[in-house]
Amino acid sequence: MTPADQLTTGRPRPEVALTVQNLRVGFGAPSAEDAVRGVSFEVRAGECLAIVGESGSGKSVTARSILGLAGAGARVRADELTLAGESVLGLTEPAWRRRRGRDVGLVLQDALASLDPLRPIHREIGDSLRLHTRLDATERSRRVLEVLDAVGLPDPHLYAGRRSGELSGGQRQRALIAAALVLDPPLLVADEPTTALDVTVQAQVLTLLQRVRSEGTAIVLISHDLAVVSRIADRIVVMHDGRIVETGTTAEVLGNGRHSETRRMLAAVPVDKPRGARLAPATETRPAGPALVADRPAVPADPRNRATPAVPLVAPAAPPATPGAGLALEAVGLSKTFRGPHGTIHQAVDNVSFRLQRGSTLGIVGESGSGKTTTARLALALTAADAGEVRLLNEPWSTLPERDRRARRPLMGAVYQDVLASFDPRLNVREILQQAVTGPASAGRARGRRSSAARRGEAARVGSLLDEVGLASGLLERRPADLSGGQRQRVGIARALASRPQVLICDEPVSALDVSVQAQVLDLLDELQRELSLSLLFISHDLGVIQHVSDEVAVMHDGRIVETGTAAEVFTAPAHPYTRALLAAVPRLI
């Protein structure tokens, strides 16, 4: 067998895989507004229909309703819902179970969690066969190996016995797709199948889905990222607020999207957008403080020559530095090894050097395991390097004892990807920011001891931080868990800014966000950088984001920096083969 083997079994396929007419899905009280409000579309055999929209647009609920999995409390109504030529409206649960897996397969985001981490993948994949066929164990395992081979998992015999945690990101996503395809269903529903994957893996998975489609399987692809879907979708449906606001062929929607929501999503894709260009409408970046951003030119003529705002929001701790006036952060020969569970040694960071110019952005890009996060921790001096040194504002930093470093810690702020995990879940936004303003040392002290003037000052500072990151003051009493992803990341940024830092270390700050929310946060960081003369060390696996935000770029691979240069140099004339491979895999709006 070769990976070129057919994925399909030659099972006859209905010409129309799925018809949805006026689908409405509601949750909770009957009077509550529906999450999906009258959605209609049709998918033919061998066609890929992409449903795109932001979180909360109703796209995932639509996808799950196709499998009868909208949830126990969901009220699903439709004029027509036909799957593989048979109406599935009002099916009983046992009848649904006979169809799931056989007539429609589901592929979810994050294969690590979507395959049972305690079971080997051959059992997960074989479950569909056990449930829907009378094949015996030997025949089942033959079909499992066949489908694993067909999805391009090398050495299926070896990998079939592994669990999802023992596979790489690409391998487990292939295994998840294999589990959905093992019965060769006429329809595959893929809900964000490539989100959170590295670009090269993402490209491989998209190629696999393309092959599935070309062999006659219909695909409904759910995504928030127009650039991703443009690679394989034949038609695109744009959803907003539970309704379809635009529908057409991929070329029509991408080239000539008329609805404002479509245009907003197109504008939000950062790849190939010049540095400093807005990705989101100005009113969205700072909904709470429109006056702060109103009178700035949308795109500065030369991004490197940024004007300081006429009225700085906050007096910076140091006089605003002009770019090139010195180094904000410098790393020389950083190395770090970790000891594995069985005495193995892992070189996470290997002789890494970089220079971050004042007021500019250095983007570090690399795939999972390339050592980006370790580099960030070394830069923050939260992890001690085995060799090498980090200098902050031309002064020693990583070589200082922590006691001396603490006084200078306010100069550096950090923004993380999983920002929710970085908040104390018992604190509300006001308490989080207050602690950040007063500093950890005084936060523990009795509140009463601080003078009322000091407390007023703190409250004012918390208020101005909220303004800076464009959050309404009404959110002060909320806990982070009750905020949206974008709001949480803004709180995270506000917290990082509380100490008036000059250097901001951003480790995958937008990776967990929808493209349109990502656009707002990237715009916000860009504005803050100009207003506060911040120097940014921006770490991401997403080349599109890195290209958009960076003045200079360092490409990391296996713990080393394989290429550095200005963003223009690296992205237009990549010198290293690894950089070229990465760039080839970036999804672009075609």
Partner: protein, 322 residues
Amino acid sequence: MADQLTRARLGGLGRRLAGAVFVLWAVATVTFFAVRMIPGDPAEAILGGPGSQTSPEALAAVRAEYGLDQPLLLQYLHQLGRLATGDLGQSYALNMDVGPLVVSQLGGTLVLALLSLTVAWLIALLLATWSTGRGRLARQIGSGLEIVAAALPHFWLATTLIVVFSIWWGVLPPISTADARGLVLPVVTLAIPLAGFLGQVMRESLTAALESPFVLSARARGESERGVLWRHALRHAALPAIGLSGWAFGSLISGAVVVETIFARPGLGRTLLNAVTVRDVPVVIGVVMIVALVYILMTVLTDLASRLADPRPTTSGTGAGA
């Protein structure tokens, strides 16, 4: 690589053994000094307790015989030396070797504890599976029952059960008998509070497992609710409860002290209580050492069971990259 793995495993085994020896030493030390802090003269206890009239000569002879006239530290070292050779010494009060005495009482307590652990697991599993995925009310009832059960003290539960089942209804014997019927009330007394604890952790992890993407994937394959529970969710739910079972076994043995006394059931618990009452130091230390040994064994067993239920390799604390 294989060589490295073997070495790592051997290292793990060595650490575990050293840990066990340390625990046993600490238990022996704490017990020795704690028993000595009880006021009164051990020599009097040997001669029949504080009530008996004993001559100073007799007391002095006993002290010399048992080495009680030596400094405390020397006595302690002496005791450690004997323990190291496996000699638990002679009981003061019962005039027999502690080793055989303790071993003869071990069986009854082990049966009681293991049965209670099994019953507690069954109750917790039933309660957790019944109350999850059935709506808010069921969840609240389940969690309410668990909190109440976990808070019930053994002595209260035992007396209440005796009053209801033995005195009012007369269906079960109030004191332990040789047949299985006599085991019911002691086992239930020990199992109910433990089931409350186990149920709480089980239900929490069961809820998390049922909401996880892999369960959605399984449903999308056409898996039934029962299949989801048995093939996927229950295994995840059991993991923390398995981890808790080593501790649970220890708490069951301490509960046995109360339960064996109330139900007049022979066993380690009652032996320990009697020995403490008459200040029979060697028996106290003997019982405590045996219990510590069993506890260490149980911890190893639960570790193995966890490894079986969750074969994923354990990751070390040092994360690299992202």
